[in-house]
Subunit: 350 residues, 2 copies
């Protein structure tokens, strides 16, 4: 463990074609010429499809059926971490929530709260990263907003993204659909996002290096639905990690969920870092993983689909049963409750 960072420093000296300033000033949110130029020459250029370029107060969408809508504010600190940054996270977090509804992401709205004094080169890098993530996820940023708050009233930049997607099937997906006996699958190793952000925040580096799992789960999640797997519930275990996601689902479904600890994939680097940092990996945030509840007799097919769609470590980790709460069965057969934490393990993780 050393105090080198894995992320190369940002070049803040690059020329900024879109502003006479090198830092955010109040005028960037003032509704005048300075704001209009920032929007046209940075946001529209980096993010824009046809709708954003129209430059009206809102975008027009033409869905062909029911849609899902979801929103998330992103406040991650630090804004750049191994494996991602605030800009890409603001895309991945929201498209993932759409996928968890069984919807194919179609449109994003992006709202920026900028703090006076933020280097514009850093903003430009985050917006470029956001645009690249959106294109990779085949989702269009269709509308946006920018506000500027005084120095000391923010922390650089916060981004709220709201997504709209087209539902792929009529049958609902959610805790209410869960049945006793359904199996629970996790798509990959847990806790990688949380420990990578935590390490970046503290300036720690580990060997092997930690890297956030932040990324899109749209393809593997929707592949299950498109293949006709009877997916009962999907959830991405972000804040509070796998344990909290399962505890919420158990509560909402009024069922018990039994988890076999040895079956939960945890990368050795994550396990080591958690031990050093005093964290339980089951409660550490993921930003590129999901859990899927499917009937027991579809587990084999579901795992094969996930592995073919870039989730080599997908694993069946347990099953639902009558009762309540989440029960973790340890490697030697001991059992403990995985409850919602009352407090806060890792602030500003997303």
């Amino acid at each position: 463990m050393t105090d080198d960072r894995d992320t190369p420093p940002l070049d803040l000296s690059c020329p900024l074609p879109f502003s006479d300033y090198d830092r955010v000033v109040l005028a960037h949110g003032g509704g005048g010429r300075v704001m209009r130029r920032l929007i046209r020459e940075l946001f529209v250029r980096e993010l824009g499809g046809d709708e954003l370029r129209r430059g009206h107060d809102g975008a027009v969408l033409r869905p062909t059926g029911p849609i899902a809508m979801t929103t998330d504010a992103f406040t991650v600190s630090p804004r750049r971490f191994p494996g991602g940054d605030l800009g890409s996270l603001a895309v991945h977090g929201t498209v993932n929530d759409l996928a968890m509804c069984g919807a194919r992401p179609r449109a994003l709205a992006a709202s920026f709260i900028l703090e006076e004094g933020l280097p514009l080169a850093e903003l430009a890098a985050l917006v470029a990263s956001m645009g690249a993530a959106a294109r990779a996820c085949e989702v269009e940023v269709v509308t946006g907003d920018t506000k500027v708050v005084e120095r000391g009233s923010g922390d650089g930049v916060y981004i709220t993204t709201t997504g709209v997607g087209e539902l792929l099937r009529a049958a609902p997906i959610g805790p209410a659909q869960l049945r006793p006996g359904d199996a629970v699958i996790v798509s990959g190793g847990v806790g990688e996002h949380g420990v990578a952000v935590m390490a970046a925040r503290e300036g720690l580096s580990f060997e092997p290096p930690l890297r956030s799992d932040a990324g899109s789960v749209v393809r593997p999640a929707l592949a299950l639905i498109e293949a006709g797997v009877d997916v009962r519930c999907l959830r991405d275990p972000t804040r509070g990690g796998l344990a909290s996601a399962l505890a919420e689902i158990a509560d909402d479904a009024d069922l018990r969920i039994d988890v076999r600890e040895a079956a939960v994939p945890v990368a050795p680097a994550v396990a080591d870092a958690c031990e050093l940092l005093g964290l339980d990996p089951l409660y550490v945030a993921c930003e590129g993983r999901f859990v899927a509840f499917v009937p027991e007799d579809e587990v084999g097919r579901a795992l094969a689909i996930l592995r073919a769609e870039g989730c080599p470590d997908a694993a069946r980790i347990g099953a639902a049963a009558t009762g309540s709460g989440v029960i973790l069965e340890g490697p030697t057969g001991g059992r403990r409750h995985l409850d919602l934490l009352s407090g806060e393990q890792l602030p500003r993780i997303c």
Copy 2:
């Protein structure tokens, strides 16, 4: 002018059924039990319809045709001002943007960035105000998100609302539809929001008292469309006020807009306050007004509709012509350009 405020002080001593804390703590955003209780017992209770109560990562909507989507961050300071607060403004600002697209508001997503230390009683009052505004506007808050940032990294609370609405007509509405000769109508007196917030921020009160115009313009705006008026463009003049809205439209439409100063409704209290504060009312934000461009021969009918829908001061203020920019004709015939301001007149106005 005195330094009394018009807004009665908030009672911060009321009991809080939804938390063991009296201020926001990091755990309110931590993904655990404290956050879940805040969401269920405050946000869902005050804002919720069926979708929000489902408690999934996203909401399901069933639009029957094309939709409009718009997003806005709200950072107004102070959070309470005569005529509204951050909560109601976050509803009105977004439903108004939908109406400006010619869409009937159907759903709102709400994202909260809370600063550690915010009194929960104040948050509860803002959320209650938001819920009341949404019900009055017949729009449902369907999904949301809450993040908490450390003390000093925010300013109490910022809200981003994203709206989805159903388009009322197929023909597009926007600057590109403008024709030379089209008349421009404003729905009421301008600048009332900006001066009311400015006065509240500075602790000033005026006689007669200033009151923000913040409110919904959905009914009058959509009434024009429903009556079959050939509305070419709609825009609500928020940041930068009437002058900036017209300058943007003239630029986007590649036309000139001529405005007769004497025809622009400005309440005497606003004119007086602007004189004292050194502001030009044409550049001061409104949050409950809009401009509509309609063919000249429909002006009479449009004004009659607006007056019947709660806009007694609606007035024809000018017309589009070939050329560029916005030309203001003064009471004695003098002319001046109304350009986009380069900087910032009133920060944190919305």
